[in-house]
C-alpha cells in the first residue's frame, strides 16, 4: 500500500469511500426506510391501491381515463383532465405536453399524404387548437357553451397570418369558412394544407367569447396522471351525471363534497376532487 504512487492510493481510497457510502446510503438507508414505511404506512407505501368488490381498480393517487374503447367519454362517469402521459393516464410514460404559451399554429394534415411510415398525414395540433377542441367537446358533452377567447366556433385556434393583400385563418383547413370574413379590410381565406405561411405576420384574434368550461378541463397536467379535477369542473359535470344515473343532483353534489380534498391546513394547494374515488362512490350510490 505504502509503495503505491500517491495518486493510485488516492483513487483506491476514493473507491473504498464510494463503496462504504453506497452500503450506507444505497442499501442500509433505503431498506430501513422501507421497513419503517411498510410497518407504519403499509397502504400508502404500496401505492394507495383502491379495491372494488375485492379487486384492485387503481390507486387513489393515480388518475384514470373514464372513456370507452374508442376514447369517447363514458357519460355516467365524471371525466378526468386531458393527459399527455402516453395514450392518456399511462404510468409507464408519465409526461406533460411541454407545449409553450405561444404554440398557436397547427400543421394542417395534407389529404392523401403519407408520413415516413406510410400512415396518413395527421398534421400537428398546436396547444391553442388542443385547448379549443377540448373546450368545444366538453361544452357539447355537458350541454353548455364551449366557446373560449382565441378559439373559433369550429373549435380551433383563431389565428391569422396577415399578408399585404390578404389574411389567412391558418388553423381552419379549407374548405372551412374562416371565423371572420375580413381583417382590417383584407379578405380572410381558409388555410391550405401544405402551404407555407411563415412569411405572414401572426395575429391571434381574441374575440369576445367568455369561457364557461374551467381551465383544468382543457389543459393537460404536469404528470399526465393528475387524479383530481377542480371543484368547478366537477360541478359542471354534475347535471349530466344526475341525468345519466337518474339520481337527484343534490345527491351528486354531496358526493362531490365528500370526495373533495380541501386545502391542507386551509392554505396549501387548491381544493380538488378525486375523480376515481368520486366515480367509485357513484357506483355504490
Amino acid at each position: 500500500m505504502e509503495r503505491l504512487p500517491s495518486w493510485v492510493r488516492q483513487h483506491l481510497a476514493a473507491l473504498r469511500a464510494l463503496l462504504v457510502l453506497t452500503l450506507l446510503t444505497g442499501a442500509i438507508y433505503p431498506l430501513l426506510v422501507t421497513g419503517v414505511a411498510q410497518a407504519l404506512f403499509n397502504g400508502k407505501a404500496n401505492g394507495s391501491i383502491i379495491e372494488k368488490d375485492g379487486k384492485p381498480v387503481g390507486s387513489s393517487l393515480i388518475g384514470q381515463s373514464f372513456t370507452d374503447a374508442d376514447g369517447k367519454p363514458i357519460a355516467r362517469y365524471f371525466q378526468s383532465r386531458p393527459s399527455a402521459a402516453g395514450d392518456g393516464y399511462d404510468p409507464t410514460s408519465t409526461s406533460a405536453s411541454n407545449l409553450g404559451p405561444e404554440d398557436i399554429i397547427d400543421t394542417l394534415p395534407v389529404p392523401g399524404a403519407k408520413d415516413d411510415e406510410g400512415n396518413p398525414d395527421e398534421g400537428t395540433q398546436s396547444l391553442l387548437t388542443q385547448v379549443c377542441t377540448r373546450s368545444k367537446a366538453v361544452g357539447e358533452l355537458e350541454g353548455v357553451s364551449g366557446a373560449r377567447p382565441y378559439c373559433t366556433a369550429d373549435g380551433v385556434g383563431a389565428v391569422l397570418k396577415v399578408f399585404p393583400d390578404r389574411a389567412v385563418s391558418v388553423n381552419q383547413a379549407c374548405p372551412a369558412t374562416p371565423f371572420t370574413p375580413t381583417y382590417k379590410g383584407l379578405p380572410v381565406e381558409c388555410g391550405k394544407p401544405g402551404e407555407d405561411y411563415a412569411a405572414g405576420r401572426t395575429v391571434p384574434i381574441r374575440g369576445n367569447a367568455r369561457a364557461v368550461v374551467p381551465a383544468d378541463a382543457v389543459t393537460a397536467s404536469g404528470s399526465g396522471l393528475d387524479p383530481h379535477i377542480s371543484v368547478a369542473y366537477a360541478e359542471l359535470q354534475a347535471p349530466r351525471i344526475a341525468r345519466e344515473r337518474g339520481l337527484p343532483i343534490d345527491r351528486i353534489r354531496n358526493l362531490i363534497n365528500t370526495n373533495t380534498t380541501p386545502r391542507a391546513l386551509g392554505f396549501m394547494g387548491e381544493p380538488a376532487v378525486n375523480v376515481l374515488q368520486l366515480n367509485l362512490a357513484l357506483d355504490k350510490a
Partner: protein, 553 residues
C-alpha cells in the same frame, strides 16, 4: 379562502419555518464540521477507507480528493447502468444506452440530475437506489465539503491546511444528510409517497381498460433529491407525479427540504469565521434575491399573459390540480434558485415571463440560496467580487473578513464567475448553429431558442431542470450537456479551493477606518446589485432573443 391569499400564506409559512430552523441547523452543521471527535462508526469507516482522519490537507490535496472521488463515482455509476440487466432488481430494464449512461452518470455525480432518460422506462430499482440515490447523497456532501474548505480559508490564518476531504465527506453524509433524509422520508410516506420493491403490476380500471401501477423505493430517493438539491426524479414526471409528491402539503414539505440546508449554511459560515453577522449578511443577500424571484414568478403566472394562457383563462397547462398555480410557481422558483431542478409543473408551458424567471434564477449562478454547499461558495465568490468592485471605487486594496483580495484571489473569483456563462453561451451557439440540433426543439420561434438556452443554462449551472420540450437524448446533446455539467461543476470547485488555499495562507489585516464593513445592509445591497448587474450584462442579449421576445409581443 381567496387563492391568492392562500398562495401568499404558503410562501409566508415557508419563510417562517426556514427562519425558525436555520439557526439550530446552522449551529449543528458548525459542530459537525469543526468537532475534533469522531463517532465510532466513523472511525470504522476511516479504517475501511484507509485514510488518517486527523491529518489535514492543503488545497491541492483536498481538490485531488474531490476529483478522485468524483471520477470513481462517474465510472461506477456508468458501469452500473450499462450492466443493470446482469444485476438484481432491474425489474426487466435493458442496459442503458452508452450516451445516456454517460450523461446520467455525469449528471448525478455533478449534483445536476439532468435527466436525458425517462425513469419509469429506463432505470431499474438497483440503479435508482444504489446508484443514483447514492450520488444524491454524496454529491451534496461534496458540495458542502468544498464550501467548508472555503470557509476555513477565510477563518484560518498563516496555514495551508483546509481540513480533510474524507472526513468532511463522511460527516456531511452521515451526520447531516442521512438523519434528515430518514425522518423526511417517513413523513413523505405518510402523505402517500410509495416505498416498496414491487414490480410494476397491472390493474383493470373502472372503465374497463388496463393500467400499470408502478412501484419502487421512491420516498427514500425523493427526500434526498430535494434535501441534497439534486432534482433527479424517480419518474419522468418528477415531483408532479403523485407517487413523488402526493398532496398539497407534501409539496410544501418538499419545497422546505429544498431550501433547508442552503439557507442554513450561511449561519454555519458565520459561526466558523467567528462573526455571525457576516452570515446574516450573506443570508440576507440570498433571501432578498429569492423573495424577489418568488414574487415575480408568482405574479407572472397569475397574470397569465400569452395567447394560450389567455384562451385557457389561467396558466394551467403542465400544472397539477392539487397544487394550483401559485404553489406550482413557488416550487418552480425554489427549484431553480437552488440547483435542485426537480419540477412539480412543467416550465416549458409556463407563461413566457414566468418561464424566463426560472431561467434567470439559474443564470444568477445558483447562489440565492443555491445548491447545498455550492450556493454558499458561489455567494462568497460574489461577495469577493463585490468588495473588489467597491475597492476599485475608493481606490484601496479590497479586503473581506480580514483577508486581502489581491490579484491572485480576484483571478480565482473572476475565473469562477466566467466559467458558466462561457459554457452556456458557447453551448447554445453550437446547438443553434446546426440544423440537426435545432431539429430537437419542440416549439418553434423564440420559445425554441428558450428550450436550448434553458438546457445549457441548467446543465452548466448544475441545476438539472428542463424546458422539457427539447429532445435531448441524442448523442450530441448527451455528450455536449454532459461536458457542460462536468466543467460547470469541477472547474468552479477547483477555483474555489484555489482561492481557499491562498486565503488561508494570509495573516489577517486588522480592520481600519477604510475597511468596508461587510455585515451591514449597505453591503447586502451592493452584493445584490453586483449579482444582478453581472448576470444581466452577461445574459440579457440571449434572453432578449428568447423569452423576452416571446413575452413582450
Amino acid at each position: 379562502m381567496n387563492p391568492t391569499l392562500a398562495g401568499i400564506l404558503f410562501i409566508g409559512a415557508l419563510i417562517l419555518a426556514l427562519a425558525l430552523v436555520h439557526r439550530p441547523l446552522g449551529d449543528y452543521m458548525y459542530r459537525v464540521y469543526t468537532s475534533p471527535r469522531h463517532l465510532g462508526v466513523e472511525r470504522l469507516m476511516y479504517r475501511l477507507l484507509g485514510v488518517q482522519p486527523d491529518t489535514e490537507q492543503k488545497w491541492s490535496v483536498y481538490a485531488r480528493g474531490v476529483l478522485a472521488f468524483s471520477a470513481v463515482s462517474l465510472l461506477v455509476l456508468y458501469g452500473l447502468q450499462r450492466l443493470q440487466d446482469k444485476l438484481f432488481l432491474s425489474v426487466g430494464m435493458e442496459p442503458v444506452t452508452d450516451h445516456i449512461a454517460w450523461n446520467t452518470a455525469v449528471s448525478f455525480v455533478t449534483n445536476t440530475n439532468w435527466q436525458a432518460y425517462s425513469g419509469e422506462s429506463t432505470m431499474g430499482y438497483l440503479v435508482q437506489m444504489s446508484g443514483l440515490a447514492v450520488q444524491n447523497f454524496v454529491s451534496a456532501a461534496v458540495g458542502m465539503a468544498v464550501a467548508m474548505a472555503l470557509v476555513r480559508g477565510f477563518a484560518r490564518k498563516s496555514t495551508d491546511q483546509l481540513g480533510n476531504f474524507w472526513v468532511d465527506l463522511v460527516r456531511g453524509t452521515l451526520r447531516i444528510l442521512v438523519p434528515i433524509a430518514f425522518v423526511g422520508a417517513i413523513v413523505l410516506v405518510s402523505g402517500g409517497l410509495i416505498q416498496n420493491f414491487a414490480d410494476p403490476h397491472t390493474v383493470n380500471t373502472l372503465a374497463g381498460a388496463q393500467q400499470t401501477i408502478t412501484g419502487g423505493p421512491v420516498a427514500s430517493q425523493e427526500v434526498i433529491k430535494e434535501l441534497g438539491t439534486n432534482g433527479g426524479g424517480f419518474y419522468n414526471a418528477n415531483s408532479a407525479h403523485p407517487f413523488e409528491n402526493a398532496t398539497s402539503w407534501t409539496n410544501w414539505v418538499e419545497i422546505f427540504l429544498i431550501l433547508l440546508i442552503p439557507f442554513a449554511m450561511p449561519r454555519t459560515f458565520g459561526k466558523v469565521v467567528g462573526d455571525v453577522r457576516q452570515g446574516y449578511a450573506i443570508v440576507a443577500v440570498m433571501g432578498t434575491l429569492a423573495l424577489l424571484s418568488v414574487v415575480l414568478t408568482n405574479t407572472f403566472e397569475l397574470a397569465h399573459n400569452g395567447t394560450v394562457p389567455q384562451a385557457v383563462g389561467a396558466a394551467m397547462e403542465g400544472k397539477e390540480a392539487r397544487f394550483g398555480i401559485m404553489n406550482s410557481a413557488t416550487f418552480g422558483a425554489a427549484t431553480t434558485l437552488t440547483s435542485t431542478g426537480a419540477v412539480n409543473s412543467f416550465h416549458d408551458s409556463y407563461t413566457a415571463l414566468g418561464g424566463m424567471m426560472t431561467m434567470f434564477n439559474m443564470m444568477l449562478g445558483e447562489v440565492a440560496p443555491g445548491g447545498v454547499g455550492a450556493g454558499l461558495y458561489g455567494m462568497l465568490m460574489l461577495a469577493v467580487i463585490t468588495v473588489f468592485v467597491a475597492g476599485l471605487m475608493v481606490g484601496r486594496t479590497p479586503e473581506y473578513l480580514g483577508k486581502k483580495i489581491g490579484s491572485r484571489e480576484i483571478k480565482f473569483a473572476a475565473l469562477y464567475f466566467l466559467t458558466t456563462p462561457i459554457l452556456v453561451l458557447v453551448g447554445t451557439a453550437l446547438a443553434m448553429a446546426s440544423p440537426e440540433h435545432r431539429a430537437s426543439m419542440l416549439n418553434t420561434g423564440p420559445h425554441g431558442l428558450s428550450e436550448v438556452l434553458y438546457a445549457f443554462t441548467s446543465a452548466s449551472n448544475n441545476n438539472g431542470s428542463a424546458f422539457g420540450g427539447l429532445t435531448v437524448n441524442t448523442p450530441w446533446y448527451d455528450v455536449a450537456l454532459g461536458l457542460a455539467m462536468l466543467f460547470g461543476r469541477f472547474l468552479p470547485i477547483i477555483f474555489v479551493l484555489g482561492l481557499a488555499g491562498s486565503l488561508a495562507r494570509q495573516s489577517p489585516v486588522p480592520a481600519s477606518a477604510g475597511t468596508l464593513p461587510t455585515h451591514r445592509p449597505q453591503f447586502v445591497g451592493m452584493v445584490v446589485g453586483v449579482t444582478v448587474i453581472l448576470v444581466a450584462l452577461t445574459f440579457l442579449p440571449a434572453l432578449a432573443l428568447g423569452p423576452l421576445a416571446e413575452g413582450l409581443q
